[in-house]
C-alpha cells in the first residue's frame, strides 16, 4: 500500500528535480500517445524538443521564434506569480494583455504619422496603464464587495475580446485599408515600432523587459519585505494579518502589477511580432502564462526556464504538425501532460512516499 507522509521540512532536492522528472515523464507518456496515433514517437519528440534549435533546415527560422514566444509568456507569468504566491488568482491576464495592446497602439496611432522618438516610450506607459486599469476592476470589486477575482478577471477576458473586435473593425481600423479589418501596421512605421534589437535572435524590447522583470521579481521575493509579505499571505493568511499585512492592499498591488506587466506584454507584441491590432490578435499568451508560472514553481528563475521550455513545445509542436501530420489536439494534450505531471509530482517536495505493507492482523 502506498502512503504519503508529510515531510517536516520541504525537500530542496525534489523542489528542483520535479520539473526535470516531469519533462521526462511527459516525453514518455507523450511518446506512447504519438505511437498510438501511428507516428514515430522518437522522431516526434526530437522534432518538438531538438529540431527547433539545432536542425539546419529550420533553426534559422525557429530559433528567433523562441525568444519571441517566450518573452511575453515570461513577462506575464512573472506578474501572475506574485499574486499566485499571495493566494490572489488573476486568471484574466489575457484580457489585460488585449487592453494593454489596444491602449498602447491607440496612443501610438493618435500621433500618426509623427515619428517622434518619445512616442514609443509613451506607448509602453499607455500599455502598462491599460493592463493595470483592466486588472483594477476585479481588484476593486474584490476589496469592496468581496467578489471572486478568479471569476471576474476571467469573464473580463471576453469583454476585452469584444472590445478588441470593435477596435479592429471600427475605431482603430486602418483608414487606408479599404474596409479590411485591422489597424495600421505599427511595426512598419518608425516611431511606433518595436524592432528586433539584435538581428537573427528575436530579441525585442519586450524580451528585454521580461529579463528585467525576472531579476526584479527575484530581488523582490527574496530580499524585500513586500516579497516576504506576499509569501506570508499565501502560506499563512492569519499570520500575515498578525504581522501587519493589509490583505486589501496586497490584492490591489498584486493584481495591479500582474495587469500592468500583461498590458506591457500586449503592447510589445502589437508593436513588434504581431504588428497591428487585428480581430484575432490575442493568441492565448495570457492563459499559457498561468501554466508557465506553475511550471516554473512560481519562482522567477524557474519561470524564465519554463517560459523558454513552453515556447519550445509551441514551436516544436507546430513543426511536428507540419512534418509528421500530428493533429493539433494531440500537441495540446502533450502540453497538458506537462502541467499534469508537474503538479502531480509537486506532492513529492512536501510528502514522502512510503511503501508500507499492511501489518498482519
Amino acid at each position: 500500500m502506498i502512503r504519503l507522509e508529510k515531510r517536516p521540512t520541504p525537500s530542496r532536492f525534489w523542489g528542483a528535480a520535479t520539473p526535470v522528472v516531469a519533462v521526462i515523464l511527459t516525453m514518455i507518456a507523450g511518446g506512447i500517445m504519438f505511437a498510438l496515433l501511428g507516428k514515430d514517437p522518437v522522431a516526434a519528440i526530437r522534432i518538438i524538443f531538438w529540431d527547433p534549435l539545432f536542425s539546419e533546415q529550420f533553426a534559422s527560422y525557429s530559433r528567433p521564434q523562441l525568444l519571441i514566444k517566450a518573452g511575453p509568456l515570461i513577462l506575464i507569468a512573472i506578474g501572475l506569480s506574485l499574486g499566485f504566491r499571495a493566494g490572489i488568482w488573476n486568471i484574466g491576464a489575457e484580457g489585460q494583455y488585449i487592453i494593454g495592446a489596444i491602449c498602447g497602439a491607440g496612443f501610438g496611432l493618435a500621433f500618426y504619422p509623427s515619428e517622434n522618438p518619445l512616442i514609443f516610450p509613451g506607448m509602453v506607459i499607455a500599455g502598462l496603464l491599460g493592463g493595470w486599469a483592466w486588472a483594477m476592476i476585479p481588484a476593486i470589486l474584490k476589496t469592496r464587495f468581496r467578489t471572486n477575482e478568479i471569476l471576474v478577471s476571467l469573464l473580463l477576458v471576453y469583454v476585452a475580446e469584444a472590445i478588441l473586435a470593435s477596435a479592429a473593425t471600427n475605431w482603430l481600423r486602418n483608414p487606408d485599408a479599404m474596409g479590411f479589418p485591422g489597424s495600421r501596421n505599427l511595426s512598419r512605421h518608425p516611431g511606433t515600432d518595436n524592432p528586433e534589437l539584435i538581428a537573427g535572435t528575436g530579441m525585442h524590447w519586450g524580451v528585454l523587459a521580461a529579463f528585467i522583470a525576472v531579476i526584479a521579481a527575484y530581488v523582490l521575493m527574496n530580499r524585500h519585505v513586500l516579497g516576504y509579505h506576499i509569501r506570508l499571505a499565501g502560506q499563512a493568511p492569519r499570520a500575515a494579518r498578525f504581522a501587519g499585512v493589509e490583505p486589501n492592499r496586497l490584492v490591489l498591488l498584486c493584481l495591479g502589477i500582474s495587469g500592468a506587466l500583461a498590458g506591457a506584454a500586449g503592447l510589445f507584441e502589437v508593436s513588434g511580432p504581431a504588428g497591428q491590432i487585428s480581430i484575432d490578435f490575442n493568441s492565448g499568451y495570457g492563459f499559457t502564462a498561468i501554466i508557465v508560472a506553475f511550471l516554473g514553481r512560481l519562482n522567477p528563475i524557474g519561470i524564465l526556464f519554463a517560459g523558454l521550455l513552453m515556447a519550445l513545445t509551441y514551436i516544436g509542436g507546430e513543426l511536428a504538425q507540419l512534418m509528421l501530420g500530428i493533429p493539433a489536439p494531440a500537441i495540446q494534450a502533450f502540453q497538458g501532460m506537462l502541467l499534469f505531471f508537474l503538479l502531480a509530482l509537486d506532492v513529492l517536495s512536501n510528502y514522502r512516499i512510503k511503501w508500507a505493507r499492511e501489518a498482519a492482523a
Binding site: L226, R231, L232, Q235, A236, A240, F242, A243, G244, A359
Partner: protein, 510 residues
C-alpha cells in the same frame, strides 16, 4: 474483582521514537483509572491502541476475559469501548441530534433519537437540547454532546482525553458527578489528564507514564500532588518566583472596547475595560470561546477599533495596525502557534522577521537583512532553549512546546512595554511551561506590563498579580489574585453555563 481491561506488554514504536515500551496495567469494572504523564509520554498512543486507531507492535489486551484486538474504532465500539476526544469532531452548522446520528452505525429515526438523547441526558445530569445548533453551544455543552454520543452505545469502558481543559470549575463538578454515577453503575473510566488535583478527587487508581514507559502507579487519594508531579516529570519542579515590587504607571488602558465577531460563531466583545501597570501581571481567565481570540485580535491590531478604546502609555492606538503597535511597544503572542503566531512552512529565520522586523531593525529601507534575522533567530533559540537542529528548519518541524518557546521568546527579546499572551503554555510540557512562566515574570520584573489570557487557572493564580474573568465577551472587574479560591473564580467565570437549575445535588443522587 477480575479486571475488565487488562493490558500486557504493549509496545508501539514510530521511526525514531518508542511511543510505548512494554506498558502493562489493568482496569476493574467501575474503576476510575487515571493515565498520567507529560506531553509526549505516550498517553495518546496508548489510548489510540485501546480504541483501535493504532495497532500495537507487540503485547496483548484482554477485555472482559477474552482477547481484545480492535482493528478499528468501530470494532472497539462494538466491544463496548467508547472515547471522548480532547478535540471535538462536531459540525457547527448541524443540530445536536444530527451530529450524534452521524456517529452512529444505524441511527434510529430522528424523533426516537431525540427522545433517547433526552433520556440519557436526564439520567446522567447532562442537560442538552437535541434540537440546538452545535455552533451555538459552549465548549462544556459540546463536550456533553460527545459524552452522550458515547453513552448511547452503553459502553463498558469510557476513555476521556483531557476532558476538563475546556470547563469552568462548576462544570468540572458536574462532569465529575456524571462520571461517578457511571462508575457506580459499573462503567470503567480511563481518565487522561495532567491536572493532579482533579485526579486526586476523582480517580481510584493511577498509572504514570514517562517517555513511553510505566514509571509508577499509585492510589491518588493517598499521595500528594507534588509526589505525582515528581513521578511524572522525573525531577522536582521549580515554582516560578519573583521579588515583590510596587506596580508603576499605567501602561495599557482599555475602556469600552466592543467588537463584533469576524465569523458567525465568534463571540462579540462587550465594553471591555482594563488597566495594566508597569511591573504587573494581569491574568484573564475564562473558558475558550468566550472572546479570548477576539480580545487578542483587538489588542494586537489585527482588528482595528475606535482610537480611544485602547491607549498605550496615554496615546490612543485603537485604530492603528499591528506594525504601528509593535513600534509603540505593544507586542502580542496569539494562542494558535502554527498559522497565526508563526507560518508553518517558513523557516525559523523567516518567522523571526514576522514580528521582529520593526523593533529589531531587521530591514533597511524595505530590504530584509537575512543575516541579522538569522542572528535574532539564533538568539531566541539559545536564550529560550528551543530544541531545533538549527534556525533554517521549518516552523512546523518543531514540537508544540518548542515552537511555543520560540514564539514567546521572539516577543520577549524585543523588550516590549506591554506583552499580551494567549494560552502561553497550552500543550507545553511541565518544565517548558515553568520556564515560559518564569520568563513572563522576569519581563514584568523589568518593568513591562504583562497580560496573560489562559484557561489554566492554576497557571493564572501562580503568576498573576490581579485576576479577572472573560465570560461571553464581557470582562469582570479585576481582583487581587492572592487569596482567591477556586469557588470565587468559578463564580467570576459565570459558573456553569445554564446549569444552575438542573444540576443535581451531589449528595442526593448518591
Amino acid at each position: 474483582m477480575t479486571a475488565l481491561l487488562e493490558i500486557r506488554g504493549l509496545t508501539k514504536a514510530y521511526p525514531g521514537v518508542v511511543a510505548n515500551d512494554d506498558v502493562s496495567f489493568s482496569i476493574a469494572p467501575g474503576e476510575v483509572h487515571a493515565l498520567l504523564g507529560e506531553n509526549g509520554a505516550g498517553k495518546s498512543t496508548l489510548v489510540k491502541m485501546i480504541y483501535g486507531l493504532v495497532r500495537p507492535d507487540s503485547g496483548s489486551m484482554t477485555l472482559g476475559g477474552s482477547a481484545y484486538t480492535p482493528a478499528e474504532p468501530r470494532a472497539a465500539r462494538a466491544s463496548g469501548v467508547a472515547m471522548v476526544f480532547q478535540h471535538f469532531s462536531l459540525f457547527e452548522a448541524l443540530s445536536v441530534a444530527e451530529n450524534i446520528a452521524l456517529g452512529m452505525e444505524d441511527p434510529p429515526r430522528p424523533r426516537d433519537l431525540a427522545r433517547r438523547i433526552q433520556d440519557v441526558s436526564r439520567a446522567y445530569g447532562l442537560p442538552l437540547d437535541p434540537a440546538r445548533m452545535v455552533g451555538d453551544l459552549s465548549a462544556g455543552e459540546r463536550q456533553r454532546v460527545e459524552i452522550i454520543r458515547c453513552l448511547l452505545q452503553d459502553p463498558k469502558l469510557l476513555i476521556m482525553d483531557e476532558p476538563t481543559s475546556v470547563l469552568t470549575p462548576q462544570e468540572v463538578e458536574i462532569l465529575f458527578h456524571t462520571l461517578r454515577k457511571l462508575s457506580s453503575e459499573g462503567t470503567a473510566i480511563l481518565y487522561i489528564s495532567h491536572k493532579l488535583e482533579e485526579i486526586r478527587t476523582l480517580c481510584d487508581a493511577a498509572t504514570i507514564l514517562r517517555l513511553g514507559k510505566v514509571v509508577g502507579s499509585c492510589t491518588p487519594r493517598e499521595v500528594s500532588a507534588a509526589d505525582m508531579a515528581e513521578m511524572m516529570v522525573g525531577k522536582s519542579l521549580a515554582t516560578p518566583a519573583r521579588d515583590a515590587s510596587e506596580p508603576g504607571e499605567v501602561l495599557l488602558h482599555v475602556a469600552g472596547l466592543s467588537l463584533e465577531p469576524a465569523t458567525p460563531f465568534g463571540t462579540p466583545l462587550r465594553h471591555i475595560g482594563m488597566e495594566v501597570r508597569a511591573g504587573e501581571v494581569l491574568g484573564i481567565g475564562g473558558v475558550a470561546g468566550n472572546g479570548q481570540d477576539e480580545l487578542l485580535a483587538a489588542l494586537s491590531g489585527e482588528r482595528p477599533v475606535a482610537p480611544g478604546m485602547i491607549e498605550l502609555k496615554g496615546t490612543p492606538i485603537g485604530a492603528t495596525g499591528p506594525e504601528a503597535r509593535r513600534r509603540a511597544g505593544l507586542l502580542c503572542a496569539p494562542e494558535e502557534r502554527l498559522g497565526h503566531a508563526a507560518a508553518p512552512d517558513m523557516s525559523l529565520i523567516e518567522n523571526a522577521v514576522l514580528t521582529g522586523r520593526v523593533r529589531r531593525g531587521l530591514d533597511r529601507s524595505g530590504f530584509v537583512g537575512w543575516g541579522r534575522a538569522r542572528a535574532f533567530a539564533e538568539e531566541i533559540i539559545e536564550r529560550f532553549d528551543v530544541r531545533t537542529p538549527g534556525p533554517a528548519v521549518a516552523a512546523r518541524a518543531l514540537s508544540g512546546g518548542n515552537l511555543q518557546k520560540y514564539v514567546i521568546g521572539r516577543e520577549i527579546l524585543q523588550a516590549p512595554d506591554v506583552l499580551v499572551v494567549n494560552q502561553p503554555t497550552w500543550g507545553v510540557d511541565a518544565s517548558a511551561a515553568a520556564s515560559i512562566r518564569q520568563a513572563l515574570l522576569d519581563l514584568a520584573q523589568n518593568g513591562a506590563a504583562v497580560v496573560v489570557i489562559s484557561q489554566d487557572l492554576d497557571e493564572l493564580l501562580e503568576i498573576s498579580d490581579r485576576f479577572c474573568a472573560l465570560n461571553e465577551g464581557r470582562l469582570s472587574a479585576s481582583r487581587p489574585a492572592r487569596g482567591l479560591t477556586m469557588e470565587e473564580i468559578g463564580l467570576m467565570l459565570g459558573g456553569a453555563h445554564d446549569m444552575h437549575d438542573i444540576a443535581p445535588e451531589p449528595e442526593a443522587a448518591q
